[in-house]
Symmetry: C2
């Protein structure tokens, strides 16, 4: 049995991600916050943890980045990209015409607002703390529909009235699987780094990019962020193609370690898909 | 009278930002979504719009970045950084000991979770679609408290039971004021850009940074983002110190326009504080 901690409650997209890893005999362990997912793995209550790190509509998940950078020695073991589809669900037998109100997490409600205006005009949209809570509320209240993933409908005994009710196509969330230690090379890997600048060093990013260019390493993501410890104190998140055990990646990181305040490897792991 | 559109309803931090601009005789115009704030200004229903663009805990507000980059010719006129403080508020006369449940936007609830666990253990936390809706619900229901800004308490006749109940200090949101045309130079300005790469050009970011370094321009933010039009098609958000009418900024942008697919100026505006 493999315990996997995830951002709960049951039926969230984090659970969908945990169940999509292809691991046999998963024991999902729902947690109430992202820091608690990390804690569960650190304390051995779970072998792995699954947390969202980036959504194509909502952007980076800062709580996950911060936990990886500042609060843990756990490393990213895998990444996983899920298409996010919202369904309109309700108690079995409910018809669209019989729906008098909708319950949804505010983000889900925002992402399906136009569909709701067209198909359920005038119905009030009340809020829920999670997609799973929304589905539970709908099942318990006749005439109330919820927005949520199909998994939540299955878990809580709801029926899907209509699938794919989000206003924008292409909504994807990238999840990372966190755990102990570094993954071995797979041949097609990606490495996530946090790079901390020394103070008052203009040109630092130019130097960093030059080191990667010299070593023929492609970057797939770069993002600056204040460290919040001191105003003007910056760091960068970088994703690159390659594994920390690849000779060219090791060379670039060795050069950067001589010059930067800190180079933290957040993980080397196989590229998704 | 100056109509200012903002992300409503009344009493949100976007309204606090709109009222903090120091403009006389503001007529606030609440909108239900970020795209509607842009639309209100484009159609002349409001002179200016106020939208959040970045939060120190939640990260970039992708809806605002996307609207600026893809959907509008409006430009950033000003920026404004607000400290986000949540207060516990309720109907006048309510005491902490008399609170039986709490209502909050899920983000606010998440940011005050530990305080609630310590000070109101066991009380259920129900969800609201906005901080303002939470405060209205609390005022109408005895024994129910809400998390929200002080302005919302004033607007809806609630009383502040305790101030500063957020778990983490240093929570700040950066707002931008959007409107027609380019602001003149103030002497201490910032410029926001969206830079679109040509396909299959490794080394593009290195070239971009070299142009800015040659022109002695400091970057204060850089962030890569897939354009979503085509996989592998990337763009960068850049904030730099200076105004597009500064000769060195103009030189760098002229050089970049010769080489990149597109350089879009999102605005030049005075640096906050």
């Amino acid at each position: 049995m493999t315990e996997i901690a995830y951002l709960g409650p049951a039926g969230t997209y984090s659970e969908v991600a945990a169940l999509s890893l292809g691991i046999d005999d998963v024991q999902p362990l729902p947690c109430v916050s992202i820091p608690e997912v990390f804690e569960a793995v650190e304390r051995g209550k779970a072998v792995l943890g699954v947390v969202p790190i980036e959504n194509s509509i909502e952007g980076s998940v800062v709580a996950t980045l911060d936990a990886l950078v500042f609060d843990t020695t756990l490393e990213i073991q895998r990444e996983l990209v899920l298409d996010i589809h919202f369904s309109l669900v309700a108690a079995p037998g409910t018809k669209l015409a019989g729906i008098t109100s909708v319950v949804a997490h505010p983000q889900a409600g925002g992402q399906c607002r136009r569909w709701l205006e067209r198909n359920l005009p005038g119905r009030p949209v009340t809020a829920a703390n999670s997609n799973a809570e929304a589905v539970q509320t709908a099942v318990a209240n006749p005439g109330v529909a919820a927005l949520g993933p199909v998994l939540a409908a299955e878990i809580y005994g709801a029926e899907v009235i209509e699938d794919g009710v989000q206003d924008y196509a292409g909504n994807q969330t990238r999840f990372v699987v966190i755990g102990h230690g570094l993954q071995p090379r797979s041949g097609k890997d990606k490495t996530s780094l946090a790079l901390f600048m020394k103070k008052d060093k203009p040109g630092a990013l130019l130097m960093i990019l030059s080191e990667f260019a010299y070593a023929d390493i492609n970057l797939t993501k770069i993002q600056s962020r204040p460290t919040k410890r001191q105003l003007g104190d910056y760091m960068f998140f970088v994703d690159l193609e390659g594994h920390v055990d690849d000779p060219e990646v090791r060379l670039a990181l060795d050069c950067l370690r001589l010059k930067l305040r800190e180079v933290k490897v957040l993980g080397s792991y196989p590229v998704a898909r």
